[in-house]
C-alpha cells in the first residue's frame, strides 16, 4: 500500500493520478494533506501539484469520457466530502483502463459511488434553491445565509442569476466563509472578514421597512395552509431536515 498526500486541489488530484501511472502503483491510498494516518508501515509520496501533468491527465480523461462524465469527476471533487479521493481515483482508473466509456457501468462500485455523490450534490443544490430565504436590506440587496452539507455554492450561480435578474442579491456560506454577490450585471465570489460577517442582529438592524411585515405574513401563511387533521411529523422532517430550520423564516 502506498500513501499519496496531495494538497486538496483538483489539479493536485490529477497530478496524483499521473504519479500512480508513472510509478505503476497498484494499491494506493490518496489523502488530503493534514489527514492523520494510522498505518505504520507504508510508503508515503508527497504529490507536488504540477499543472502540465494535471492537464495531460485531464486531456486523457476527455478522450475516455463524455463532457458530462468529466464534469462528474470535477463535481465529485468539489463536493469536499471527506475521504472520497480514493473513489474518485478509482473511477478515473476504471475509465483509463477500460476500452470503452464506463460512465454507465453501475455494476462497478466506483461508478456507482460517483453517481451517488452526484445525487447527493444535486439534492443539496436543489435544497438550497428551495430553502434559501432572502432578507431585504436597506441598500436594496436581498441577503441570505446558508450552511449546506456540501460545497454547492458554485452550482447555484446559474439558477439565481436567471431567476433574480432584476434585484441585487448575496448568498453567503457561513460554514465555508465565502459568498456569491450579484450586482445586477455580474456575479462574483466574495469573502468577508470575520468581524464584517453580518451577525443576525446586524442584519435585522439593516432591514428595509417592509421586511418584517413580509416575514410576518409568510409565517402566517405557512400556518394557515397546514391541515391539522393530516399532521404527519415524520414526513415533514424528512422533507425539511431539522438542520435547515435555523435559516428558514417560517420555522424560526
Amino acid at each position: 500500500m502506498t500513501r499519496l498526500i496531495y494538497d486538496g486541489t483538483f489539479e493536485g488530484l490529477l497530478t496524483a493520478v499521473f504519479e500512480i501511472y508513472e510509478r505503476k502503483l497498484n494499491y494506493i491510498n490518496l489523502q488530503k494533506i493534514g489527514v492523520a494516518s494510522t498505518a505504520m508501515f507504508e510508503d508515503v509520496i508527497n504529490v507536488i501539484t504540477d499543472n502540465s501533468r494535471a492537464s495531460r491527465v485531464l486531456n486523457g480523461l476527455k478522450k475516455k469520457l463524455s463532457a458530462n462524465g468529466v464534469q462528474r469527476v470535477y463535481i465529485a471533487h468539489m463536493s469536499e466530502i471527506e475521504n472520497e479521493e480514493n473513489n474518485i481515483v478509482g473511477f478515473i482508473r476504471h475509465a483509463f483502463d477500460a476500452d470503452r466509456n464506463i460512465e454507465e457501468d453501475y455494476g462497478n462500485r466506483f461508478v456507482l459511488r460517483i453517481s451517488e455523490i452526484m445525487v447527493m450534490m444535486r439534492r443539496e443544490k436543489h435544497r438550497m434553491e428551495a430553502f434559501i430565504r432572502f432578507q431585504k436590506l436597506k441598500d436594496e440587496t436581498y441577503y441570505a445565509v446558508i450552511e449546506p452539507d456540501f460545497n454547492v455554492l458554485p452550482l447555484l450561480i446559474r439558477h439565481f442569476r436567471s431567476r433574480y435578474a432584476d434585484q441585487k442579491w448575496m448568498i453567503y456560506d457561513i460554514k465555508r466563509n465565502y459568498g456569491l454577490y450579484y450586482d445586477l450585471h455580474d456575479t462574483e465570489f466574495i469573502s468577508m472578514e470575520f468581524s464584517e460577517a453580518k451577525s443576525a442582529t446586524d442584519v435585522e438592524a439593516s432591514y428595509t421597512e417592509d421586511e418584517e411585515v413580509y416575514q410576518h405574513l409568510w409565517k402566517n401563511y405557512f400556518k394557515s395552509v397546514n391541515i391539522a387533521s393530516r399532521k404527519n411529523t415524520k414526513l415533514h422532517v424528512r422533507h425539511i431536515p431539522k438542520r435547515y430550520w435555523k435559516h428558514l423564516t417560517e420555522k424560526i
Binding site: 431585504k136 435578474a165 394557515s224
Partner: protein, 418 residues
C-alpha cells in the same frame, strides 16, 4: 399597508384554499425575459407544511364569498364563516414580495364564485395580466378556471397563466349531483375540451412561429375528492384514465376528503381522512402514467378496490405470478418496470449497467433495488434465487411480515390508546 387587515385576509383566504391539493410548479418553460423577475421552469417545493405537503405556490382564494352551496366545501354559501376578499393589487404585491424572498415559485389563484362565473374569472385574469404585463413577472401562475366562464376569458387566461385547471370535484356525475346540486358536470367538461383544443392549436403555431405567444405551457389539471361519495377505486381510476386520454391532462389530483362540515349526505365529522387510500390512488396513477400499466390491470370488476396493505404494483404482480420470475439480465425494460421493488431510476440503471456484464444480487442492491420485494420475482447472475413455488398470497404474507408498514404502525399506536 394595513398589516393587521392583510394578515387577517391572508389567513382566511389561504385557509380556504388549502384543500386544493395541486402544488405543481414544474412543466412550464417560461424563461426570464428582458432582465425581469423570475422564471418558471424548475418545480421547487420551497417548504413543507406539518402535514408533509409541499408549499410551492402562494395558494389563495381571491375571495371566499360564494353563491354556490356545495356540501363538501368550507366556503359554501350556507356555512357561517368569516368572509374576505383581496383586491387585485393586494394579490400582486403579496406574490411579488414573497417571490423576491424566494418563499414561493409563483401564484395559485382560485376563488369562490361571486355574482357569476364571468365576473369572477375576469378578476382572476386581471391579477395574472397585471403580474405579467406591469411587473414583468415570469414566475409560475396557476389559475383556476371557473366553470361556465366564457371562451374569451379562458383564452386570455391561457395567455398569462402557466397552468389552468377545472376541478371535477366528484369522480362521477352522480356524486356531483348529490353534493353540489348547483354545479353541472358539463360546465366543467366544456372548458377542458376548449383548453385542450386551444393548447394543441397554439403548440402547432408555436412550432411554426417562434414568436407566437405561449398558451398555458404547463397544460391543464383537475382534482377529484376521494371518500366523500361512495365511488370505488375502479370508478375513480377509470375517470382519471378517461381524462388523461381524452383531454390530455397533465395531472389528476386525488384529495382525501377532510370532514369539515356536518351534513347528512357526507361522512361524519369524526371520520378519518382516507390518507392510505389517497396514497394508493396516487401510486396507481403513477403506474398508469409512467410504468405502462393499463387501468384495467390495476382495477377491474373482479378487483374494484385497491389493496390498502400493499402497493398496487405488488398487487398486480401477485395476481400475475405466471409472468414471473424474469431474468434481470435479459428482460426488456417494460417487464423490469413491473417488478415490485424496482423503480424508474433503478430500471434505467439496470439496463445501462448490464451492458458491461451480468448483474448479481449485491450489484442490484447497490443500484437501489428493494430486494425484500423484488427477490420473489427475479433471477440474476447467482445460483441462489427463490426456488419454492410460492403463491401470490404467500408472498404477500412474507413481505408484510418482514416490512414494517408505516401505515400499519400508525394503526397500532392508535389502537393502543384503548
Amino acid at each position: 399597508m394595513n398589516v393587521d387587515r392583510i394578515t387577517e385576509k391572508l389567513n382566511i383566504l389561504a385557509d380556504a384554499a388549502k384543500y386544493d391539493v395541486s402544488c405543481a410548479s414544474s412543466g412550464s418553460k417560461r424563461k426570464n425575459e428582458n432582465k425581469g423577475l423570475g422564471n418558471a421552469s424548475n418545480g421547487i417545493c420551497h417548504s413543507y407544511t406539518e402535514d408533509g405537503r409541499c408549499v410551492s405556490l402562494l395558494k389563495i382564494l381571491l375571495t371566499n364569498h360564494c353563491i354556490f352551496d356545495c356540501a363538501y366545501c368550507v366556503s359554501r354559501k350556507s356555512n357561517d364563516i368569516k368572509r374576505a376578499a383581496f383586491t387585485v393589487q393586494e394579490v400582486v404585491d403579496l406574490t411579488i414580495n414573497f417571490y423576491r424572498r424566494n418563499y414561493i415559485e409563483g401564484l395559485f389563484l382560485s376563488s369562490g364564485i361571486f355574482k357569476d362565473a364571468d365576473y369572477t374569472m375576469e378578476r382572476l385574469v386581471q391579477v395574472a395580466k397585471k403580474l405579467r404585463t406591469e411587473n414583468n413577472f415570469n414566475g409560475y401562475i396557476h389559475l383556476k378556471t371557473i366553470p361556465g366562464a366564457s371562451d374569451e376569458l379562458m383564452r386570455e387566461a391561457g395567455l398569462y397563466a402557466d397552468r389552468l385547471s377545472v376541478n371535477l370535484e366528484m369522480p362521477t356525475e352522480a356524486g356531483l349531483k348529490l353534493l353540489a346540486p348547483d354545479k353541472n358536470r358539463q360546465d366543467m367538461i366544456d372548458p377542458m375540451a376548449f383548453l385542450k383544443k386551444e393548447i394543441i392549436q397554439r403548440t402547432e403555431e408555436k412550432k411554426l412561429f417562434k414568436k407566437a405567444p405561449m398558451f398555458a405551457p404547463a397544460g391543464q389539471s383537475t382534482q377529484v375528492i376521494i371518500g366523500a361519495t361512495p365511488e370505488n377505486d375502479s370508478e375513480i381510476l377509470q375517470t382519471a384514465n378517461h381524462f388523461y386520454k381524452n383531454f390530455n391532462l397533465k395531472r389528476v389530483y386525488y384529495s382525501g376528503y377532510v370532514p369539515v362540515l356536518a351534513d347528512k349526505r357526507l361522512p361524519g365529522l369524526n371520520t378519518a381522512v382516507p390518507m392510505v387510500r389517497e396514497n394508493r390512488l396516487y401510486q396507481a396513477d403513477w403506474l398508469m402514467r409512467f410504468y405502462g400499466f393499463k387501468v384495467s390491470e390495476i382495477v377491474n370488476t373482479q378487483q374494484p378496490l385497491l389493496d390498502l396493505d400493499i402497493d398496487p404494483k405488488l398487487g398486480w404482480a401477485i395476481r400475475n405470478m405466471h409472468a414471473f420470475p424474469i431474468d434481470i439480465n435479459i428482460a426488456d425494460i417494460q417487464m423490469i418496470l413491473r417488478v415490485p421493488g424496482i423503480g424508474l431510476l433503478s430500471a434505467k440503471k439496470i439496463i445501462s449497467a448490464r451492458k458491461f456484464g451480468r448483474l448479481n444480487w449485491e450489484q442490484l442492491k447497490a443500484i437501489g433495488v428493494a430486494l425484500n420485494r423484488a427477490k420473489y420475482f427475479i433471477t440474476c447472475k447467482s445460483n441462489s434465487f427463490e426456488k419454492r413455488d410460492l403463491t401470490g398470497t404467500k408472498i404477500k404474507q412474507f413481505i408484510l411480515a418482514e416490512s414494517q408498514s408505516k401505515y400499519l404502525k400508525n394503526q397500532q399506536t392508535q389502537l393502543s390508546i384503548f
